[in-house]
């Protein structure tokens, strides 16, 4: 029996979606019989344990250390090292989130092993080693590689596979791991605080109204904000808009900003550089408003309006406003 070890992130609802996808991915990397082990940063609720079983986990390990109260990439990496030290370990995986990539990079650095980040496919080859596909340029380019190293470390792209349950026959066994940590490793842990949120969070918004250079200037974003409010959505921007100082960087959608997954992405005056599309390609539907019918965004959008955003958006906001007041009158 070979073993795959997965770092699993938890939130108030249990196993996070990206980790459920990583577990699904982990089950598919070999045709050999495999046990799936999960490392958790904190003790699971009964609900989370049930989710882990439903995704095929048979061995649950929980980080426990008197000196650790916040997220600690070094402590988590020591736990993964302890869980993957034996010969029977085939791979260590995690979701390619900021935390997942960070924990796996620490594991790779301390063990001298290879770490292949943001994989969309991985398959064990007959003669040993793996054939892999991974993202480059935030997913705008795919790289096919082979990895010839034991106990491979991968992070799993959040769009690699949908989360598919495959229940383990019995409830997982649960144990704790107390890693031995140096003073420096102990010191590296996050103090967390949760700021008051205002408005719709960009990363989880169902509708994103995004503006680019074609909006014309900072004052052009008033109508973008108005439209986002009417649609119950969040405001996004392209990189040039933040580089020019028109809007804050936290609104930037793209490879170096926020990756969004809305039902509707409305791209206004955005030409569609690959770095921008890397942040919005998971949108279910994309509508582009642009003066240039040959802009790259048009090759990715489902619907297009050819025109100037400063003309189209005020008319759209007026039509939606009128529709709303008519609805109230009835």
């Amino acid at each position: 029996m070979t073993k795959v070890v997965c770092y699993v992130e938890l939130d108030a609802d249990g196993v996070v979606d990206a980790s459920a996808r990583a577990l699904t991915f982990a089950r598919g990397i070999t045709t050999r019989p495999t046990t799936l082990a999960a490392l958790l940063p904190s003790p699971p609720t009964a609900e989370a344990l049930g989710q882990l079983q439903s995704f095929g986990v048979s061995d649950v390990a929980v980080l426990e250390h008197d000196g650790i109260s916040g997220y600690s990439p070094t402590a988590l990496s020591r736990c993964l090292d302890a869980m993957s030290g034996e010969e029977d370990t085939l791979a260590v995986v995690a979701a390619a989130t900021d935390h997942g990539n960070e924990v796996l990079a620490h594991l790779a650095a301390t063990t001298g092993r290879d770490f292949v980040a943001v994989c969309t496919a991985a398959r064990e080859e007959d003669g040993g080693g793996f054939s892999l596909t991974r993202h480059r340029w935030g997913g705008s380019l795919l790289e096919d590689s082979v990895l010839r190293a034991p106990r491979a470390i991968f992070s799993v792209s959040t769009d690699a596979v949908p989360p598919v349950p495959a229940p383990a026959a019995t409830a997982p066994t649960t144990r704790t791991i107390r890693p031995e940590l140096s003073a420096q490793e102990l010191a590296l842990q996050a103090a967390e605080s949760r700021p008051e949120s205002s408005g719709v969070a960009l990363a989880s918004a169902k509708v994103v109204v995004s503006g680019g250079r074609g909006v014309g200037g900072p004052e052009g974003f008033a109508v973008i904000e108005e439209l986002a409010a009417l649609l119950g959505g969040a405001v996004g921007v392209s990189r040039v808009v933040t580089s020019l100082g028109w809007r804050p960087h936290r609104e930037q959608v793209g490879q170096t900003g926020t990756k969004v997954t809305p039902d509707l992405y409305l791209a206004c005056g955005i030409s569609g550089a690959i770095q921008h599309l890397a942040g919005c390609q998971s949108a279910k539907q994309m509508v582009a408003i642009n003066t240039d019918p040959d802009a790259p965004i048009m090759a990715r959008a489902d619907y297009a309006v050819i025109g100037d955003v400063s003309e189209v958006l005020p008319a759209l906001v007026a039509a939606l406003g009128e529709r709303r007041s008519r609805g109230r009158g009835e």
Binding site: F115, L141, Q184, A190, V207, G245, T256, Q275, A315
Partner: protein, 256 residues
């Protein structure tokens, strides 16, 4: 407060990526080059740290001889000296890259007889996106590391690094010397001044040839994802398209 900042030369790809016929390299015939956006911010942050606390910024890159252009760009916005680790290989993997940078840091620190208080990177390179070089260098140097940093405060002996994750703010305290990888948004990089450009032109670039160990990961081919090209249905031109747009939004269920 001396800071070393590591950058990588990457092509300025725009609307689409074209590959060379060998399917292993990007066709850069018509493209300019720059550094990854996170690294442009790392250079700016390094300059701001030395402006506030004194000391100098050294910029380092591993890449082809042409990467001297990116080193000069960093000098033009405030770096004092520049180091090139030339490599013929187009793409060194993350283990080899980290090893070359670590040995260069060690050598520079020995020659200067003092350590860099901060070694800075971008969170990940725009092209290969390996998410690990900074962390590998930190472990090899035995220094603490924080990644994806969006706000940095440096005081005597300590760096306080903040970032955001799933709606929460995470704060790390790192004893100096330390390694920090930053993300775009930590600052707004400045444009080079005229004296900066003159200084960049005249800057001496120090060159060390790195060792390049074999890698266990071997790239076979690159490809552009296929399923993404759509042909947009045009709803109309200008204001005349608004009724069709409103019906579409109704159909999608985003207006009630």
């Amino acid at each position: 407060m001396d800071v070393l900042v590591c950058v990588k030369r990457v092509p300025m790809v725009g609307g689409r990526i074209a590959l060379q016929p060998d399917q292993r390299h990007i066709d850069t015939t018509l493209l300019g080059f720059t550094v990854s956006p996170h690294e442009e911010c790392a250079v700016e942050e390094a300059v701001q740290v030395t402006e506030a606390h004194g000391g100098e910024v050294t910029v380092l890159t591993l890449g082809p001889p042409e990467a001297a252009e990116q080193l000069r760009a960093a000098v033009s916005v405030g770096a004092a000296s520049a180091v090139l680790l030339p490599t013929e290989e187009e793409g060194l993997g993350p283990i080899a890259t980290a090893r070359a940078i670590t040995s260069a840091v060690t050598r520079l620190e020995r020659e200067r007889s003092r350590v860099f208080d901060l070694v800075m990177f971008g969170n990940e390179a725009a092209d290969t996106g390996d998410y690990q070089v900074g962390i590998r260098v930190a472990h090899a140097l035995g220094r603490a590391v924080a990644t994806g940093v969006k706000q940095l405060e440096v005081t005597a002996g300590e760096a306080v690094a903040r970032r955001e994750y799933r709606g929460a703010e995470e704060l790390f305290r790192l004893p100096l010397p330390a390694v920090v990888t930053v993300k775009e948004g930590i600052n707004l990089p400045r444009y080079p001044s005229l004296p900066g450009r003159m200084r960049a032109k005249k800057a001496t670039i120090v060159t060390f040839v790195p060792e390049t160990p074999d890698e266990a990961v071997e790239m076979r081919t690159l490809r552009v994802p296929t399923s993404e090209r759509r042909s947009a249905e045009v709803l109309g031109h200008g204001k005349e398209a608004v009724p069709a747009l409103v019906s579409l939004l109704e159909k999608m269920g985003v207006v009630s």
